[in-house]
Symmetry: C2
Subunit: 371 residues, 2 copies
């Protein structure tokens, strides 16, 4: 009997019988997609079809089923693993992926985060405090203007300077020129400060240019990659993270992924979408909108992401959560209290809004976190 992995689903169902029927439907829909009574006895029925490992009520109209699948059904590929976890049933409302429990034989096919939170700290010279992150924006500035911003952020002590996720290869600030200028500006600031600030360009490239563009980041002296799996694909994200010719930390961005968490009853849990899946894809840190900003995630949902970022997944390193989405400096004490030190504070617009002296603003940001 081959090894199996387990997906915990929550299920909308009025009765236990309905919950069981829906769990049985998951077992079939996600594997053989075949009339159950036509499946002959033997290995397909015994091994390939999903298996309900447990089923329990979560109260009114909601149940939780742990369904196991043969590791062989995923064929060693992230694309197909995602397909087994949620491919067809993404089309069926009232089913939600809550947790993934993947055995070592499956996880062995994934390198996971190359650096993880601890490795990121090491790259930055070993600070024990939360890491400071901001974004280069707005879209429409020239590469030279963005580089000047990058210089001032780095001079002020920001650890991770990422492109805004909307900076691609537009005529405003073409990718190659932007990466070169911003990386140079950050290196110049680092020479002045002694800090080790990293610049993370956004590599949302067409599929056939993605690897090339990411390698260019390395060549131009970039310090990491910003990648949106919703735009480029989860497996393309994995490819960029695992490629030894790049070898840079990867920061995941949630663009186009929001629909998976729009409904509390359907889709994928915050913990899986922004914690477990980015780790499978090799991300070292994962951006998501914190509670109380411009977006609507709850405190519990955000803290569940921090759980998914460090829950045991074989030997995969934990990643560092990066809550953002409208955070301000006055939120720091609350976020420190909630997340502890293993967190990236991503503050974008609010740094720009605090007066013209960006360097002073960043120093203030750093002092608040150091304190």
């Amino acid at each position: 009997m081959g090894e199996r992995f387990t997906v915990v689903y929550s299920i909308t169902a009025a009765t236990e019988a309905e919950a069981r029927a829906r769990a049985e439907d998951i077992c079939v829909e996600q594997t053989v997609e075949f009339p159950p009574d036509l499946i002959p006895p033997g290995p397909i029925r015994d091994e390939v079809v999903g298996r309900i490992e447990s089923l329990r009520s979560l109260g009114a109209n909601r149940a939780e089923a742990a369904v196991s699948f043969a590791v062989a059904t995923a064929g060693g590929e992230l694309t197909q693993l995602l397909n087994v976890i949620f491919g067809n049933i993404s089309l069926k409302p009232g089913l939600r992926v809550e947790r993934l429990d993947l055995p070592p034989s499956l996880l062995a096919g994934f390198k996971g985060p190359r650096f993880g939170g601890a490795g990121l700290r090491a790259l930055l010279g070993g600070p024990r405090r939360p890491l400071l992150c901001t974004a280069l924006k707005p879209m429409g500035l020239s590469a030279a203007e963005l580089a000047e911003l990058a210089y001032r952020f780095a001079l002020g002590g920001i650890d991770l300077i990422k492109d805004d996720h909307g900076l691609a290869d537009q005529s405003y600030a073409p990718f190659d020129e932007r990466v070169g200028r911003c990386a140079e500006a950050v290196a110049r600031a680092n020479r002045e400060t002694g800090f080790r600030c990293l610049y993370l360009p956004n590599v949302g490239a067409p599929a056939h240019q993605l690897l090339e563009r990411a390698r260019l980041v390395r060549e131009r002296g970039g310090g990491g990659l910003l990648v949106a799996p919703g735009l480029v694909g989860w497996d393309a994200t994995r490819l960029l993270a695992e490629d030894d010719g790049i070898g840079l930390p990867v920061m995941c961005h949630p663009a186009l992924l929001g629909s998976f968490v729009t409904s509390p009853d359907s889709g994928v849990s915050h913990s899986v979408l922004f914690g477990q899946l980015p780790r499978l894809a090799g991300a070292d840190t994962s951006v998501y909108p914190n509670w109380g900003g411009r977006f609507s995630f709850s405190r519990d949902e955000c803290l569940s992401i921090a759980d998914g970022a460090r829950v045991r997944m074989g030997s995969l390193r934990p990643l560092m959560p990066a809550p953002g989405g409208g955070m301000t400096l006055d939120r720091i004490p609350e976020m420190l209290d909630a997340y502890g030190n293993d967190v990236v504070f991503l503050i974008g617009g609010a740094l720009y809004g605090r007066g013209p002296d960006l360097v002073a603003t960043c120093r203030h940001f750093r002092e608040m976190v150091d304190a």
Copy 2:
């Protein structure tokens, strides 16, 4: 002033003022993602920020806004176009992409469907009836067993035989062996029947093997590609469709895309998700679950996909909708009535369930459609 494209969003809002505020938020969030009062007067404010072109009430708590964006914001890339259309706001419930209106200057960057519905018909020898499609399954069969099924389907007169979308490169039926055997079986049947049945293997490969695997389909005599944009990415789908070294028709599969249409108020409309976007990505036909099958799409939602499949998009060819997901032979008259002849009837499990003589079942299927 540069050319602009327009996205029509529906918006949940209690008042007109709230609807306008949410539309203004879209304009900013999807472009500069920057405090509006900090944007200096000039081209960024005038051109880069989105612009509300119209706003109207849709009745209680719902409004519709047409928002235009500079073509330059998309930078000529599908990934970034998707990002501008719905990247960050996918994380904000109550916003839904309803329609895309893309000008020729933007569409010029996309080849669109290489064949489209009319081209598919031509490849098949020019039938004017709906096209017949089925799937090789269940997962767990060997390549030889799947090839035997393919032979019988082709002998019975099926036009398009696709892999089940769960067939990847598992040990049960490895990709290379499966494609070779099934393509050979279909070619053998075609020699006997004089038909031009096409075999479409599923190319849900890891990112670095995708192009290679698709080219292998061509080398092995496959007749098209089954591609799930939700698994491999929209732009990877485009790459496979546009690559002249492959040059095969592409059938889109909806795996992992369901969460975009789970909520009627959030996400992306059926028409865009299964009609307009697949066309941008170059798909010639697009699979989705028809009403009244195993899934929950309504009749109106399904017919809106057929609209998106043929709505004017510059010179992009129309694609052919492929409703499936639990269809049975007795549904054919109803589907003919609703869709007319420009449709692919995808019937999977129900063909297997109609008795052991698959060839006779397929002939019956074809006679029903011919009649």
